[in-house]
């Protein structure tokens, strides 16, 4: 039973009959007690998509309110709660778990050639922590809402009458969900690689997820302790962050950003992870300079810890630390740039096809370039003094978080959807939806760069009338995005029932998830795969035959 690399794993005929992971068991219990990483990944997927829906609705309401300079549809308090909800849900419930816990959970062990993650029960526990966190946040919403912004700055958060304690506990629990996911992935990548899967034969997706997991373990506990201190501060008047009692509110910001800046890389690194896969598969080329892309992921993870002070340039930190953090901030540009350059070089002399996942990858490169370059403005001390806490910052991080991570996530979802559910979606509809999302995104957020440069502060319910035109354009853009996402929801849900049956390897990928069935069997592979070549070895003599055989086109 020697298994060579480019034999599809389902060759043994007697095994053809074993059911895929979706059909191997039925009933609600087979889901809520499952230890299968694929099922947990799918439970995560639906949960975070639901959060995305709620966060998105909040975003639309915020944009709608900003249509006019005065009250449009809600009061100032409702508006403050709405943008807090949008930020809180999107960051803590959606983006941070999005790629690692849903898509990552699904494909990571398969890409490694493993049967599961190292600690399946911990994996399930992490999902239930996520649910508990979501429930606590829901409690916070039902018991008076929360209006601190997702950043919980003291002393506002210790004084406001809203449910900061519930929200704090919710995010605390979500933090542990994230830590457990990271812990699981690190162990899995170290210990469960299939025979022959050396570090430099791993798909770049895994390098980025590994770097992400490092941050999850090393930064998230600080968020946990920060929120715990905030809860204690509110409940018992601890005073560490309260100037009235001799504490320092700026110290809270240090604590918060020690987590939340690396958290930016928890969000963007998995996005880069997916883009590497997409660019390789749809250009049929190994990623240019594989090693430097792999190392740049780790470099970003480490450098991400050294720059948190750039959120506090005008917050009252010392001039020395301001300059220090500014200098370090610029270093982050280098590994980010290296990645972009390498993706471009991968396209060079490729064989590029334009299925919808690839469109999202190209959009990522387009948008992340803007997001990255505008980061240079913000890292520059003298300019940041002007731009800090304006719409420029809002636009910048939406270009990185939404244009980066969410575009990559959606691209990844299109890429692995056939693998997860065994069905294809309507490609034409996908391309149209993409056009809506891409155009709408730029309309919504590019205007905000202009707003911010002209001095429009963020988190404003009312605004001076000179900003209205740009706000209207931005709001219209948000409706275009929403149209795109509604279309996407329709064709995805339709495909579950009516979609064409997916071949094992619809895109002609070479990484291990394309070597198994769509959807995979419970144990992922009939036989443990053995790896004898790099992740994207399209020039391997057997690669062409493999693609032909698995793509279902002959």
């Amino acid at each position: 039973m020697t298994v060579t690399t480019f034999d599809p794993m389902h060759v043994p005929t007697e095994a053809q009959s074993s059911p895929n992971f979706l059909e191997s068991a039925h009933g609600i219990k087979s889901w809520i007690f499952t230890l299968d990483h694929k099922r947990i990944g799918i439970m995560y997927l639906w949960s975070i998509l639901l959060s995305f829906l709620f966060g998105g609705i909040a975003a639309l309401l915020v944009r709608l309110e900003l249509l006019t300079p005065q009250k449009t549809i809600m009061t100032a308090d409702q508006y403050n709660q709405m943008f807090t909800l949008h930020g809180g849900i999107m960051v803590f419930l959606f983006i941070i778990p999005s790629i690692p816990a849903s898509l990552g959970n699904f494909v990571l062990p398969i890409m490694l050639g493993a049967k599961d993650v190292a600690f399946p029960r911990l994996n399930l526990l992490s999902y239930y922590f996520w649910l508990t966190g979501a429930a606590l946040i829901l409690t916070a919403i039902c018991t008076g809402g929360i209006d601190t912004g997702w950043t919980f700055y003291t002393p506002y958060s210790t004084r406001t009458a809203t449910s900061v304690i519930w929200m704090g506990l919710g995010v605390f629990v979500l933090g542990f969900s994230s830590i457990f996911t990271g812990l699981n992935f690190i162990t899995t990548i170290h210990k469960l690689r299939a025979p022959g899967m050396s570090w430099f034969r791993m798909p770049l997706f895994l390098w980025s997820i590994y770097a992400t997991a490092l941050i999850q373990i090393l930064a998230t506990p600080v968020l946990a302790i920060t929120l715990l201190l905030l809860v204690v501060e509110r409940a018992f008047g601890l005073g560490i962050f309260d100037p009235k009692l001799g504490g320092d509110p700026v110290l809270f910001q240090h604590f918060f950003w020690f987590y939340s800046h690396p958290a930016v890389y928890i969000m963007i690194l998995p996005g880069m992870a997916i883009v590497s896969e997409l660019v390789a598969t749809f250009s049929r080329r190994p990623i240019f300079a594989y090693k430097s892309v792999a190392y740049s992921s780790v470099a970003l993870a480490v450098l991400g810890f050294l720059v948190w002070g750039h959120h506090m340039f005008v917050a009252g930190t010392s001039e020395f630390s301001t300059v220090l953090f500014s200098a370090l901030t610029f270093l982050v540009a280098i590994p980010s740039g290296v990645k972009l350059f390498n993706w471009l070089a991968t396209l060079y002399k490729g064989s590029i096809s334009f299925e919808s996942p690839m469109l999202y990858a190209l959009a990522f490169i387009f948008l992340f370039t803007i997001g990255g370059l505008t980061g240079i403005f913000l890292g520059t001390l003298s300019i940041d003094v002007h731009l800090h806490d304006t719409y420029f910052v809002v636009a910048h991080f939406h270009y990185v978080m939404m244009g980066g991570t969410i575009f990559a996530f959606v691209g990844g979802l299109h890429y692995w959807w056939p693998k997860m559910f065994g069905r294809m979606y309507n490609e034409l509809a996908a391309k149209i939806a993409f056009a809506f999302v891409f155009v709408g995104f730029n309309v919504t957020f590019f205007t905000q760069f202009i707003l911010g440069s002209r001095g429009m502060p963020r988190r404003y319910y009312n605004y001076p009338p000179q900003f209205q035109t740009l706000h209207i354009i931005s709001t219209v853009g948000s409706w275009i995005i929403a149209t795109g996402f509604i279309m996407m929801a329709i064709y995805f849900l339709r495909s579950l029932r009516h979609g064409k049956k997916a071949p094992d390897n619809p895109w002609g990928g070479l990484t291990l998830e394309w070597h198994t069935h769509s959807p995979p069997i419970t144990e992922n592979f009939h036989n443990t795969p053995i790896i004898t070549h790099g992740a994207y070895d399209y020039e391997h003599p057997d690669a062409k035959a493999f693609i032909l055989q698995t793509q279902g086109k002959i």
Binding site: S326, G337, Y348, I365, I376, G379, L381, I450, G455, N462
Partner: protein, 315 residues
């Protein structure tokens, strides 16, 4: 240097605003160049190397040490140059000239209080400053973090409760400019607006002396009350024209019977107003949120009496 507004930036009024704009546009053109180069390359590649045959397997370079080193090392020098550019501009902002005139700023939910050297306090959310003279703001907050932001001056700094922070500027042109609170501070954050009025030095002197005399004059309680009403920006939440904002309007409020959120009701009289100023959460008029901050310790007894007289007078 040109002080007109450009497409991206508001008018540049302070002495260092020109430097900021110069750095901004320098990076802007660099970014446009890099963006066009990279996205242009992307479009060129995806069109030129689009898949022509579903069976083709391309072959091309898989790495190039020279290229990789170039695009690692070159950006390093580039970003360090930009860092120095920003650092230079920042130094100018961080170190106030020694001849700067100090003005104290106190931020509170949701108003600004400016205190000049001779004890004059602003009463109308407008900061008056002389042209062509450095001003140093010594800032603190009474409740939560606020941020003093003047887009036309390209200056911003947080006001931190319990600590002092400072910034300085020198205005080059006469005029009225927007002052925003840039750090989220609660319900009326977006109404915590002020103005900066840059005046000719002579006119400023006259104004300051005039204010000094005015503020030391004994006045009728309702006049003092009106002054306090603008000074503490009560208007942010309470109008005098009958339209409700965050809180009930003062128009005809005195003597009216109000329903409270706890189900009880009562007459708006001296005691109720006093209680509402000192313990705002005690009795909330139905239909409003308990968001008013306390003014305990900020208002003297005589101030409260004056405010009551003022509210009485708003009919």
């Amino acid at each position: 240097m040109n002080s007109e507004a450009t497409f991206f930036m508001p008018p540049a009024i302070s002495t260092y605003a020109g430097d900021v704009d110069q750095a901004y546009y320098w990076i802007y053109y660099l970014s446009v160049f890099l963006f066009v180069a990279m996205v242009g390359a992307m479009f060129y590649f995806v069109i030129k190397y689009r898949r022509k045959n579903s069976l083709e397997i391309p072959s091309g370079p898989q790495h190039s040490t020279v290229l990789e080193l170039t695009w690692t090392i070159l950006p390093f020098f580039l970003v360090m140059a930009i860092f120095l550019l920003g650092f230079k501009g920042y130094l100018k902002m961080a170190i106030a000239p020694s001849n700067a005139t100090e003005i104290h700023v106190t931020g509170r939910q949701w108003s600004w209080l400016f205190t000049y050297g001779n004890g004059v306090e602003s009463t109308d959310q407008v900061l008056h400053v002389p042209k062509d003279h450095p001003i140093k703001m010594i800032m603190t907050s009474e409740d939560v973090i606020h941020s003093f932001y003047v887009p036309a001056f390209r200056i911003k700094h947080d006001l931190i409760p319990g600590q002092y922070s400072s910034l300085w500027f020198e205005a080059k042109e006469v005029g009225k400019f927007d002052l925003f609170c840039a750090e989220y501070c609660g319900t009326s954050h977006s109404n915590m607006l002020g103005k900066i009025e840059v005046m000719e030095p002579k006119a400023f002197e006259t104004w300051l002396e005039h204010e000094h005399e005015e503020q030391n004059k004994a006045v009728a309680p309702e006049v003092l009350g009106q002054r306090l009403y603008t000074k503490f920006a009560c208007v942010t939440c309470h109008t005098t024209d009958g339209s409700p904002r965050v809180g009930p309007s003062f128009k005809g409020a005195y003597g009216r019977t109000e329903k409270f959120t706890d189900g009880t009701s009562g007459v708006v009289n001296d005691n109720y107003i006093r209680e509402s100023i000192l313990q705002p959460q005690a009795k909330i008029v139905a239909g409003f949120q308990p968001v008013m901050p306390t003014f305990q310790g900020q208002l003297k007894d005589s101030d409260i009496t004056a405010l009551i007289a003022f509210i009485k007078s708003v009919k």
